[in-house]
Symmetry: D2
Subunit: 403 residues, 4 copies
């Protein structure tokens, strides 16, 4: 019981091995293909990189040990995931990309032994990918999940699901889906949702178009998905019926934080590329990196990196103590998403024309990180939630003082 | 002699005609092709759109009347170019895209009658496109033009040019080039440059790869260009030998401002799309557009649009009075480039997941406008120039007070 | 009918005379007394400075010619008021401080000939000061004027007023008050207000404590004012009964803009002091003013000054065309209040320890300008109003398109 | 060896006792006197509050146990000092204000047993105050300490000191001074400084005027100090001759961090006052605290508070491991100074007119916290130092890669 900010030696060792693996194996592939993972080979590339990660001893840092992972808690995942995120392809190589990583986390907490055997084991080993089907087109579940419209009706032996999802990351090529559907109540209710597990090839499940988004590095794209009388047997219910919103909380906080870890790595790469550039490039009578306005951008980046890491450590530690850490993960996510955007934007600016071109990785990094200010809750929704807690507490205190 | 901010009726009429033309003819084409002008047809599309613009009476608002244009001064160009820029393809349709528009401006001021006949006339009419070959890879001419390394050597009857340019907008498919080359002095000297006119098919001129940049809407790309013993006859010297840096000033201020006009139009479109979205989209118990944090983004955009326009009007008016207006164009360009970026970024954010997707034009607008903080002088270089003037004047004042 | 940004020669001449008067007469007094106008002599000082201003031919640039002023319209006031605002005591010296200047403006538009004779004439000549009693403590009239609670009841021959006002600028020592009171309806109604004119020594009018605010340069302070059965005869009704909210609009836009003019002058002084400091002060191997991070602050200030002026010109010109210019004055006020704050804050920062001390005027300027982000409508209220217009228009357009 | 962010129970208990003491004893005194410690009683008040702190068991959390303190390391000081800083008078009450707290820290590390007995013991017990005389007027030691001009000449039995210091916090009423003077080399050398201990009543030491700064809560003011042939015996040399710059490093990092702790407490109070205000105040159809733009300010404050604490914890932990932690204390100080300013500024804005008045503590908090962006190194100097390290490392890496 005293502040300690040091990592165990085995964590530090894993970070170093991961850094080396990314630098030597993964970054060259990313750079060769301009960061477009589909163009670079998609699942074929994924299998090949994951094989290399296993050989290097850095595969699946998050997965339970019994499923071949390193079993790291959230706090220890932070530096390892950041090291992986240094390449846009790194998370795929280590099997810690979204949404698979969050799905492993949730299945390990909630799934039945049979479900773990059937879905978690192959996912943790990289034998299949998965999707998490929650977001819906307006007016369905979006920033406000209670608007959920996809419905599951009870039928003999199971459930029949109908609905329309979109922005479903990794859907194209996923081996199975976790589906968020309403089993009671109406859109607007903050209860009545259930999670279902289904193989991707089940009848009635169709993966539609890839939505053309700014980012290109997530395997399987962001897709539309349609359910038409999709049958899921009772054994496919994840956890208990009508408890979906509560389970979503289990996934939510950690998933936010692993996003931060990965994107922080990407931002750090952008910063490193820019610093290396300005340290060597001549201009205005010296090196660009010695000019005050450039120094300001560099220092701002360093501060943003340090603050992101510090907030992340805090939120992860709270998660590891149990509980949802809703406030500290909202704070860390909001700060990080904006800081990461600033870091990459400054890095682009430091490199001038090259910064907006494909000759450096910065232009693609700027495309990749922008959506994070929207994904996993727009900054505005997090700020609203943060403020509501504080103002609510102040109202309560005033009522009590007045009573 | 009194402040007047009204436009002449014929200017207002041209603005309205341009708005209608863009809305009815050009925007549908842009949207159909996701803003990629090469994919949309390149020069074939250009010719077709320019024909339509001529029919609509909105072609070439900037070109001298004797070359088929409307002959507007800088101040009056502002609202017309903004209206054209509302579509990313609009400037091409009206023949006022970079670099052609700036080249028309410069040739009208500097070229000899013969050069006007041969180069300006077809350019103004849209029969050919052109390129302005100034920027060089490091350590050549970039933010600091005096670093110019491309050399022109005097030979009998003309000049022999050798050098390497890059980020040459519109080079692929251009009918002729204006080349900036050193005719005396050494890199670092703030004199000794000359401008040359040459047909694109001259021997010794090679257009290399398109540099893969964030923006996609400029026809002819941003290319590398190589000169190997390129011969330009004496008749191809634009203006006088060794006066290139002075002539560049003639082009510089106006070109900065027309960039601002066009991008401001693009930013306004992004803002309009976002406002239309949040005015209709439900969420959190009402329309998104009635939420305070969304209202803040909308109001910030309105302020940025108004301030950009106001600074632009000021700088254009100064240019129309004669003189370089270096300070006011630096101020307007720097403010505008950052404001336009903020406007589009806020617009993306207001639309959430759709904002980062191809389902709305915002994602592509965010890619298109980012480079403007770098092109035509990075914000940092403009700030440096602005501050140098002020501090220099303060030092002078102190010396005089002390004397 | 064409854009013109030049001032008439007589305006330019008045600006120059005003600048000289401020520099030679007023600034030395301000600096001697550390900007505290009460400590410097209050109304005694005011009378003395106004005498000097009359002698210098720069007194009352805004007042109608028949009342001894220069009769400038809003557009022409801008550079003159800015020149006056260069000293915190300048507006008092020229009789153009708040609230007198706005009261002159309103009385000139609305008052009856008798009221003009009795109230406007001495005010315009500087024989008396005045107050505008609108703001009330919560839950009364504040950012939302319709919450007005002060009531005027009809009695034979006049009205009986009861209420409590606060933040009434200049109340202590004012010769007369313009009182905003409800004559019909209830708090929350957007109508039913009337304006009343009353001498300050009327029975039932009490000026309470000075509220201790960050700013110190406004003569007569910001006071609490109480009305207890204050009788105002029918001849004291300004304009028509129940039209107070409409008349307030007449005062509102121009008053916002003259605030901007004056504070912009103050901000410019801060900037000039800081630039002079860094142009001379050695550090880090040269002059501070040649360091990039300092150059950035200087350039940002220059941009903010230019944008404030440009938005101000726009809004003033719209006011001069007639109409309320609600949107453009909201935009100009919001931008200006924040820009002026940034300019002074940067200026403080450039001067380091001296910047936060009384050895330079910057610390006091930082105190003086902060409230402007609150006074005359907090930035948040203006942003809300700006956004509401835009979103309202978008909703209407959607309805019409759908109809 | 694993991340732990929990405090030992005795630290948590001391935090709670400190919070209660500040709330019940100190805040009422601060509020009664508007935060002006001189007006509130100066050293008389200090003695009285320190007596109460001793009685409450919260006195001197930082001082070595043998001198009556709690002997907390840097990490554990953070929450206690923050709790003390919640009142502007809190640090004085607990004897942890600047510069005494930093002087205790440094004397505990460097002083000889005799010096500890004579100077440290009474300082730790609150029997005297002290001053740290380093900063000089331009062109002397300021942001760049190597410019040190105050000279100490060797004379028989001791040293004779001549020089001029300013911004010397707490000088008026201090019992002794620690003087930073040059014993070898010339201004500009990064060596040759020595620290001297002298009683305040020594002949040749004169405390001049209080510099009139924005802040008012530091006892003893910020003064000019003059040394004219001040004799300090050899026993007054603190540590070794010519090692002053190295010793200054011992004081520097921790002093930066304790500043952050205290000001963070002050910022938190501002935030709490504002939140309590908007949670109760009606406007625009509800409570102000439920409006989106207000929620944004609240959430931004929460994020800034969390990030400041997280960076502070990191830097303190590094200091506790030994070493100077120059980079992490620069990062934490720079972020914190700007965040604290933003927090208070947002809090002012949330309270509108009351926010800029003396009716709430916000106006004075805004004055108090502004100088922290300058004191202990302006943000610009810290950013310069942060960037220099990074760019220097990049240059080195490039050289090695090239070798």
């Amino acid at each position: 019981m005293a502040i300690d900010l040091s990592y165990a030696p085995e964590v530090t060792a894993l970070v170093e091995k991961t850094e080396a693996f990314i630098r030597e194996v993964v970054l060259p592939i990313e750079d060769e293909h301009g960061g477009d993972i589909t163009a670079a080979g998609g699942d074929t590339l994924r299998v090949q990189m994951q094989k290399a990660a296993k050989d290097a001893g850095v595969f699946a840092p998050h997965a339970p040990v019994e499923y071949g992972g390193h079993g790291l808690n959230m706090t220890d995942r932070a530096p390892v995931f950041e090291a992986a995120g240094y390449s846009l392809f790194g998370p795929t190589a280590l099997n810690i990309g979204a949404p698979d990583e969050g799905n492993v986390h949730m299945l390990a907490h909630i799934a039945s032994p049979e479900q773990k055997e059937r879905f978690l084991a192959p996912l943790a080993h990289g034998d299949v990918r998965s999707a998490f089907a929650m977001t819906e087109p307006s007016p369905g579940a979006g920033s406000d999940p209670s608007a959920l419209t996809t419905r599951a009706e009870k039928v003999p032996g199971g459930w029949k699901i109908n609905g329309h999802k979109y922005f479903i990351t990794g859907a194209d090529g996923a081996g199975f889906f976790i589906i968020f559907a309403r089993t009671s109540g109406v859109p607007g209710d903050r209860g009545g949702a259930t999670m279902f597990l289904t193989p991707a090839d089940a009848e009635g499940l169709t993966v539609g178009r890839h939505i053309d988004t700014l980012d290109r590095a997530m395997i399987g794209g962001h897709c539309e998905v349609f359910f038409e009388d999709l049958f899921v047997p009772d054994s496919g219910v994840l956890g208990e019926v009508d408890q979906g919103f509560a389970y979503a909380q289990v996934r939510l906080g950690p998933a936010r934080m692993t996003h931060v870890m990965r994107w922080l790595g990407a931002a750090r790469r952008g910063h490193d590329v820019a610093v290396a550039h300005v340290a060597q490039r001549d201009g205005f009578g010296g090196k660009l990196g010695d000019l005050g306005m450039v120094q300001k951008m560099i220092a701002d980046n360093e501060i943003d990196i340090a603050a992101t890491r510090a907030l992340l450590t805090r939120a992860c530690w709270e998660l590891d103590q149990g509980g949802h850490a809703s406030n500290s993960t909202s704070i860390a996510k909001t700060y990080a998403a904006e800081a990461i955007f600033r870091i990459v934007d400054n890095s682009v600016q430091m490199c001038g024309g090259l910064g907006v071109s494909g000759d450096l990785p910065l232009a693609r990094l700027s495309r990749e990180v922008r959506p994070f200010r929207v994904y996993d809750g727009p900054s505005e929704v997090h700020r609203w939630a943060i403020a509501k807690r504080v103002v609510g507490a102040a109202k309560k205190a005033a009522r009590e003082a007045g009573a």
